[in-house]
């Protein structure tokens, strides 16, 4: 893949640029995310969260002025991610990188990050293996097994004994299925049936009928937010599974807050697990939401917002401690812990991944009649279960 001559050339170029910027003492951070196309939501959420953080903490981290440079990938597009990252490293001379919404994009830049030795904070991409691909990766989002495992524990505690898993047939769906099944069976639960649904499904009635016929205590699902989640939840409600006593368990991707209102009343009463709910009750979260409203009136926070907000916290800590010295910066953030709008978080020095609380939530209505993810139980300090078993 990588041309053998590119490594030294790139390192030399980066060294040159680093030498050039050291005197000016403006630390540049390149942010790579989709700012156009169907996934532009991520870019917007990232930028809003960074703006909130800067509004709260100023443009200086320690003695260093911080400058953000944004680059668009347009979606899951590893080639573009790689070329814009290279441009940031060589042309703009950034000292830190951040963003990365999709797993293929993050994996594509791992060799670049390694060669340039630039600490890179992943705001979203949620496959476990990413952080093993370069020692310069740090991640502030979550992984799918980290979300699915605690939900299985909770299901057992609720007396749920039989489950049908029904996940979208692609990487994250299969990760979620494995994460849930492993934990659920280890605790003595029984998986009655496992369905993998084609990614282009728009009518879920056949699956709902099959689940209903199997009559489990609950179904577990992973399905991407947006149109598929809407149709799936609607189908669950229309086919009378709730009335038949089949509970709905899912990862919080499917009812994240920017699409939650669109799900409508059909979503009432479903259970999901996730690291962040906008309805999380803490002074910090209230402050975060108020500041977000100032930066971008009408914006709705979600998991991508806190991923980027905590990612910016990590960046500021690294810049304050290391300045242009990425390795010193990286050392400062490994093992660090702080309070986030989602609750207490820390960076696991072994996996470079965020350790955080998982919340079991139920979809309910607030006093204004809006749907919210109401947290009903907290599972404390969950590491990435894909890499570390408890």
């Amino acid at each position: 893949m990588t041309k053998p001559t590119m490594g030294p050339a790139l390192a030399a170029a980066v060294a040159l640029v680093l030498a050039g910027t050291a005197g000016a003492d403006t630390i540049k951070v390149g942010v790579v995310a989709p700012f156009s196309g169907p996934f532009a939501m991520y870019g917007k959420q990232f930028k809003d969260a960074i703006d909130v953080y800067v509004a709260e903490h100023g443009t200086k981290a320690g003695d260093h002025e911080v400058q953000f440079i944004y680059k668009d990938t347009g979606g899951p597009n590893p080639d573009t991610a790689k070329s814009v990252t290279q441009e940031l490293l060589v042309k703009d001379g950034v000292n830190y990188l951040a963003g990365y919404t999709f797993t293929p994009n993050a994996l594509a830049v791992a060799p670049l990050v390694d060669q340039a030795q630039v600490p890179t904070v992943i705001f979203n991409a949620a496959t476990s293996i990413i952080t093993t691909k370069s020692p310069y990766f740090v991640r502030t989002s979550f992984t799918t097994p980290q979300v699915a495992g605690p939900l299985a524990d909770w299901a057992i505690a609720q007396g749920i004994k039989t489950v049908v898993t029904s996940v979208t047939d692609y990487g994250p769906g299969i990760d979620a299925e494995k994460g849930f099944v492993k934990e659920f069976e280890a605790k003595g639960g029984k998986i009655v049936d496992s369905i993998r649904m084609p990614i282009a499904t728009s009518d879920f009635s056949p699956f709902m009928q099959r689940i209903k016929a199997a009559a489990p205590n609950a179904l577990f699902t992973f399905i991407p937010a947006g149109p598929p989640a809407f149709a799936f939840v609607k189908s669950y409600s229309d086919n009378g599974l709730s009335a038949a006593g089949v509970q709905f368990l899912g990862t919080g991707d499917l009812d994240e807050e920017t699409t939650l209102q669109g799900l409508g009343d059909a979503a009432l009463g479903i259970h999901t697990s996730f690291p962040y709910s906008v309805a999380h009750e803490s002074a910090m979260n209230t402050q975060f939401k108020a500041d977000l409203a100032k930066v971008d009136p009408g914006a709705v926070a979600n998991f991508a917002s806190v991923g980027a907000y905590d990612g910016t916290e990590a960046l500021y800590r690294m810049i304050a401690a290391g300045g242009t010295d990425g390795d010193a910066g990286l050392k400062a953030v490994l093992g660090a812990s702080w309070e986030s709008p989602r609750g207490p978080v820390s960076i696991d020095p072994k996996t470079h991944h965020i350790t955080e609380n998982m919340y079991i939530r139920v979809v309910a209505k607030d006093d204004k009649g809006q749907l919210i993810n109401k947290e009903i139980e907290t599972i404390k300090d969950v590491p990435d279960l894909g890499l570390v078993s408890k």
Partner: protein
């Protein structure tokens, strides 16, 4: 036995939704011979206007849907005049490029005005919930779609085969020059037919939103579905689209019941086999 009945029931219900969202395209692409890839755009606009009328203006569903339908029809008239008149004269490939350009315009407009998240259309009490059929339940909404589908196909048949407008339309499509010589105002006929296609697209978008929810990227996401139904049914054949939609709906549903792991391949396989055997479509004229 129950599985078979379930397959037929869900298949027909799904097929009817496919028919509703594609029938507008049968009219513009099939009857007017314009490769209108922006069809889904009109369906999305119908859904987006309904969403807006319900959420911001507080109208109840039937009124909001009607208002949205009228809005799309009205909007389609100047669009036809400005954009589509030059497109009619182009070859097939330029038509594809031009109409996909229009699709991008529509996507960007809705994205700009309403954002890229789901635009929900909550159904009224009478249309939501499920009806008990004894051996299982069926979402009530599907019965309404079934009713609307039958009305649309009967209405179109009468309009095209039995009215003076239908005769003029067929004449104008077959030979615009001769039709114009006989005193038929072909420009007006095309305007009206295009508006009819856009209105049907909007109706399909609104009624199909339970399964194919509305958002800014709707026109691209479901483009293949519309095109498949029209291609398999046969260009310009409303009855063909109807048969094709039901057949594909039942086939796809059966595959999901019996072999979910093979995915959507049956749907496309059926299309390939069908078009290999009859390139002009099920009921299309060669």
């Amino acid at each position: 036995m129950t599985t078979l009945a379930s397959i037929l029931l869900d298949g027909v219900a799904y097929g009817m939704i496919l028919f509703m969202i594609s029938v507008g395209l049968t009219v513009t692409m099939g009857l007017m011979r314009v490769v209108n890839l922006a069809h889904g755009g009109f369906a999305m606009l119908g859904g987006a206007f309904t969403h807006w009328a319900m959420m911001s203006a507080g109208l109840p569903f039937p009124l909001a849907a009607l208002a949205a339908l009228i809005a799309v029809v009205i909007l389609s008239v100047p669009m036809e005049r400005v954009f589509y008149r030059p497109i009619y004269k182009m070859g097939e490939l330029p038509q594809v490029l031009a109409t996909i350009g229009i699709t991008f315009l529509m996507i960007a407009s809705v994205n700009y005005a309403m954002g890229s998240s789901l635009l929900s259309i909550p159904l009224p009490k009478v249309m939501s919930g499920a009806v008990d059929l004894g051996f299982r339940t069926l979402p009530t909404h599907r019965l309404y779609v079934l009713g609307a589908g039958v009305l649309v196909i009967v209405g179109l048949f009468v309009l095209i085969e039995r009215t003076r407008f239908g005769i003029r339309l067929r004449a104008a499509v077959d030979h615009p020059g001769t039709a114009a010589c006989l005193g038929i105002d072909t420009g007006r006929i095309f305007s009206l037919t295009f508006a009819l296609g856009a209105g049907l697209a909007a109706l399909g978008g609104i009624l199909g939103a339970e399964l194919l929810p509305i958002d800014a990227y709707y026109p691209l996401r479901y483009m293949i579905l519309f095109l498949t139904v029209v291609a398999v049914g046969g260009m310009g054949s409303v009855a063909g689209s109807f048969v094709a939609a039901l057949a594909l709906g039942i086939l796809d549903t059966a595959a999901r019941y019996l072999f979910p792991e093979v995915g959507t391949i049956f749907f496309y396989l059926a299309m390939i086999v069908m078009l290999g055997l009859r390139p002009q479509g099920l009921l299309g004229r060669a």
